[in-house]
């Protein structure tokens, strides 16, 4: 956690926390993305913020759950009241298979932050999702820094979904802006929407250069990031393999 730790060993773990587990393979670079410009290895746990381009869009939720795919431990999902009211509550039947969710309903954004901190202090979780509506004053640089340090100490992914929000000062290690794209055609029904695509723009990052991708969730591979042309080509290839 602390770079100024007196220990000479460059360990990412704080002195009081248990040893950091090995990098899970679900977050290895080959899983996270494909393509030449993936960059260095992605840290296992950090605070990431996802901004929704449209407040009611479902793309940020799908993006976060796709990046958490492969997690077997329970995931804590905290929502404040406005997020529940405006963007809906998690639907059990639609959650990805194998994902165990604990849903916490709180009223204020401050309670979301408190619950996230508590969850980041506990072992045994696979990830933490928090949803905050708007730009509450409680969600300032200090609050995000606390979350970021705790997430790195525990090596636990912590996702903050922001709706109707502006990208103010924040200590999040990754900041995404995610929106929906027209989906791939359904190979069985030309009129129907097929596999969903999202536009994912990484506009701030600590570990790689910012860029924009077309993202999608593949059941076996988790989150797949591609450039636009690749996505279309891949889709065409998928269609051809499906037809052939």
């Amino acid at each position: 956690m602390c770079p100024s730790s007196p220990e000479p060993v460059p360990s990412p773990a704080p002195p009081l926390s248990p040893p950091v587990p090995k990098l899970p393979d679900r977050l290895s670079p080959a899983r996270v993305s494909r393509g030449p410009d993936v960059g260095p290895e992605r840290p296992p746990g950090m605070l990431s913020e996802v901004f929704a381009t449209a407040a009611m869009d479902g793309a940020p939720t799908g993006f976060v759950l796709a990046s958490l795919s492969g997690v077997t431990a329970p995931v804590l999902w905290v929502q404040d009241r406005l997020s529940r009211r405006e963007a809906g509550v998690p639907c059990l039947a639609g959650l990805p298979e194998g994902l165990e969710v604990m849903h916490l309903k709180v009223s204020k954004p401050l309670d979301v932050l408190w619950a996230l901190e508590q969850a980041l202090g506990a072992a045994g979780l696979g990830g933490v999702i928090g949803e905050v509506w708007g730009d509450p004053p409680a969600l300032d640089f200090t609050a995000t820094k606390r979350l970021a340090l705790r997430a790195e100490a525990r090596a636990l992914p912590c996702w903050l979904i922001r709706r109707a929000a502006s990208a103010n000062l924040s200590a999040a290690r990754e900041r995404w802006r995610v929106g929906s794209l027209p989906s791939l055609p359904d190979p069985e029904d030309q009129r129907a929407p097929g596999q969903p695509l999202w536009s994912a723009e990484l506009f701030r990052s600590r570990w790689r250069a910012p860029a924009a991708w077309v993202a999608r969730h593949e059941p076996g591979r988790g989150l797949v990031l591609e450039h636009g042309t690749e996505a279309e080509g891949g889709a065409v290839a998928d269609l051809q393999t499906a037809a052939g």
Partner: protein, 650 residues
């Protein structure tokens, strides 16, 4: 005497008692720091046994009879020769074999040493259950609070800085059938002749300066229920004894095995009366082996009377029959029959009493009350809730207002006790006993059994702010209200807790802060209406229900609760509308999939509920929604169907 009152009245038979010793002279053990002066009570002669003290008006005849009964009892006890040589030990011989009631207890051991009767000396014919009860004598403490309602009202006035002067006659009134009647009085009013049950207008005529307020009997009952819990500071088994019609109240405590914690029974009685005096209540306490005897001695006996195990009948003999918790009508009947004291009643053959009163309710059955007082019939103390098995406490020399510094030590001690017994904690209650006779408590719960003191202390974080300490408390207890058997678990080599355990503790903290219904785990239900299939159960509930089979059809990632109606701008005959308005934004449907028809659940929905046709649509911006039409055109269940947006696809 009317015919129905006829009873074979016998002369006062000489009565043998088991405790021949005269009443012990009691030392003046008034509590030293009691703020109130000693109660004005008629002087009690030390020897012989006193007549019933005030407020009973001295009845010369009653007094005389009581003296005679007591004298006879004592003389006979000394002069009585041992008879019945066939029995090894003297038996408590009844003058009459009662109906359906066994003979009195025989004591096989040395006199006074209680023991369970063996089969050797028990005759098969008349030997049955009730006489062979638990040989360890119970010690029941009865507390009488004769001015409970008035003192509660005075305390309320004093808190509002409106305390009236001591000599102002005051009374509390309740509504009677012919106007308000007096319910409770203070000492000044009582000295002027104001008494409970009289009409307020009469008492006002008698005493124009009388201040009358209305009584709060419901509040009295609630305060008594809280006082019952507060009395747990002395012993675990406490129960209320009801409110009286004259503004008094009673408590009953089973102090068996608790008195040594207070330096003996006499010291315990003094401590109890002193603590109640600090809380503002006048109390009279007595200790006896049975509830009935303790009740009688607390109200009609001496000051802080302690009745040893064998002396119940001797002590009760001089008391009036009113001391048997009988109704006034029954008391009057007995008095008309010439039975003024309990000693008189004890001398009457049981068969006669049974024949006359056996069909009566307990409150008007002198035989049953007599049996309860002498211990022939069991009458246990029934506390409102069972005392916890694991409980630790800290007693403070001075009242304080913050329990936080005492919590870690209490938690350590409680968890050590739980570990020794192999139990884990599911619910813990921190209770503070305030000096004003109230209790305040905070409850925390855990989702899995645990006995980690640090975690227990952490669960109380932020919860103790809501604890009302009043003007301070001097006793803190931490009870394990609910425990489960729990085995030792081996932690990891690095000392970290198990993952499941860590998650359980997180669940405890989050549920404790946001409420048990806020943190949910999926518990899907086998329903086919989408919002009914969404089952969530509190994470505190523990075990999860079995997982259901997943649907093959696509479901959204988020559901709107409730579904929101959209305004159709451009309807098409087949499929979803081409254009609609939802939340003031116009959405154009570019692609859709469906319909998926979901019928109403006929076993759960009211008749006339319309079916739903669900469409998965994609709008012109690429966002994907779940839209449904309630009903179809011409289904005879209403007007043209409406459209609702129910979910959001990723």
């Amino acid at each position: 005497m009317s015919g129905e009152d006829k009873l074979p009245v016998l002369a006062l038979l000489p009565r043998r008692t088991t405790d021949p010793q005269p009443p012990r002279p009691r030392a003046g053990n008034l509590h030293p720091d009691r703020p109130r002066p000693a109660r004005p009570r008629p002087a009690v002669p030390a020897e012989p046994r006193p007549a019933p003290p005030a407020p009973v008006p001295a009845d010369a005849e009653t007094f005389e009879r009581a003296l005679a009964a007591l004298r006879a009892a004592l003389e006979v006890e000394v002069a009585r020769p041992r008879k019945a040589p066939d029995l090894p030990q003297p038996e408590e011989e009844e003058t009459f074999s009662p109906v359906g009631t066994p003979r009195a207890m025989r004591r096989p051991g040395p006199a006074g040493a209680p023991a369970r009767s063996g089969a050797a000396e028990s005759r098969p014919g008349d030997d049955d259950g009730p006489s062979r009860r638990d040989p360890a004598p119970r010690r029941i403490l009865s507390l009488s609070l004769p001015r409970f309602a008035m003192e509660r009202w005075l305390r309320h006035l004093a808190r509002g800085a409106e305390a009236p002067p001591e000599d102002l006659p005051m009374a509390l009134a309740v509504e009677g059938p012919h106007g308000p009647v007096i319910h409770a009085t203070n000492r000044a009013a009582e000295a002027e002749g104001v008494h409970a049950g009289a009409r307020v207008v009469d008492m006002r005529a008698l005493l124009p300066t009388l201040r009358v307020d209305f009584a709060d009997t419901g509040g009295d009952a609630a305060a008594l229920a809280r006082l019952v819990l507060w009395a747990r500071r002395w012993c675990p088994w406490t129960a209320g004894d009801g409110l009286t019609s004259a503004g008094g109240a009673g408590l009953v405590l089973d102090t068996t095995g608790s008195d040594h914690l207070w330096g003996g029974e006499a010291a315990m009685l003094a401590e109890i009366e002193g603590a109640l005096a600090v809380a503002g209540f006048t109390a009279r306490a007595a200790l006896a082996p049975t509830r009935g005897a303790a009740w009688a001695l607390a109200r009609f006996g001496g000051v802080r009377e302690v009745c040893p195990a064998g002396a119940v009948e001797t002590r009760l003999a001089p008391l009036p029959v009113r001391a048997l918790r009988l109704e006034p009508a029954t008391v009057q009947t007995l008095n008309r029959l010439g039975l003024k004291t309990i000693g008189d009643l004890l001398a009457v053959p049981r068969l006669s009493l049974a024949r006359r009163f056996s069909r009566e309710a307990p409150a008007s059955n002198p035989l049953l009350r007599l049996d309860q007082a002498t211990g022939r019939t069991a009458e246990p103390v029934d506390p409102p809730e069972e005392p916890p098995r694991f409980s630790v406490q800290t007693r403070l020399p001075e009242p304080v207002e913050d329990p936080v510094p005492h919590l870690p030590a209490l938690a350590r001690e409680l968890c050590a006790g739980l570990a020794e017994a192999g139990h884990g904690l599911r619910r813990a209650v921190l209770t503070v006993y305030r000096t004003d006779g109230e209790v305040a408590s905070v409850t925390v719960a855990t989702s899995a059994a645990m006995r980690d003191p640090a975690h227990l202390v952490r669960l109380f974080d932020g919860r103790l702010d809501r604890l009302d300490p009043g003007f301070g408390f001097d006793l803190v207890t931490l009870d394990a209200a609910l425990t489960e058997a729990m085995d030792q678990a081996q932690p990891g080599l690095a000392g970290e807790p198990h993952a499941a355990e860590a998650v359980a503790r997180l669940v405890d903290r989050l549920s404790g802060r946001f409420g048990g219904g806020s943190l949910l785990r999926p518990a899907p239900r086998a329903r086919h209406v989408p919002e009914r299939a969404e089952g969530w159960s509190p994470a505190m509930a523990g075990a999860l229900p079995p997982r259901l089979l997943r649907l093959r059809v696509l479901r959204p990632l988020r559901l709107l609760e409730p579904p929101e109606e959209v305004r159709v701008l451009y309807a098409v005959p087949e499929g979803p509308p081409a254009q609609f308005v939802w939340r003031r934004q116009t959405l154009r449907v570019s692609r859709y999939d469906g319909p998926e028809r979901i019928a109403p659940e006929w076993w759960a929905d009211r008749p006339g509920t319309r079916l739903r046709d669900y469409y998965r649509i994609e709008d012109h911006l690429g966002r994907r929604w779940w839209l449904y039409r309630a009903g179809v055109e011409g289904d005879g269940r209403g007007t043209s169907p409406e459209w609702f947006l129910h979910g959001v696809f990723p």
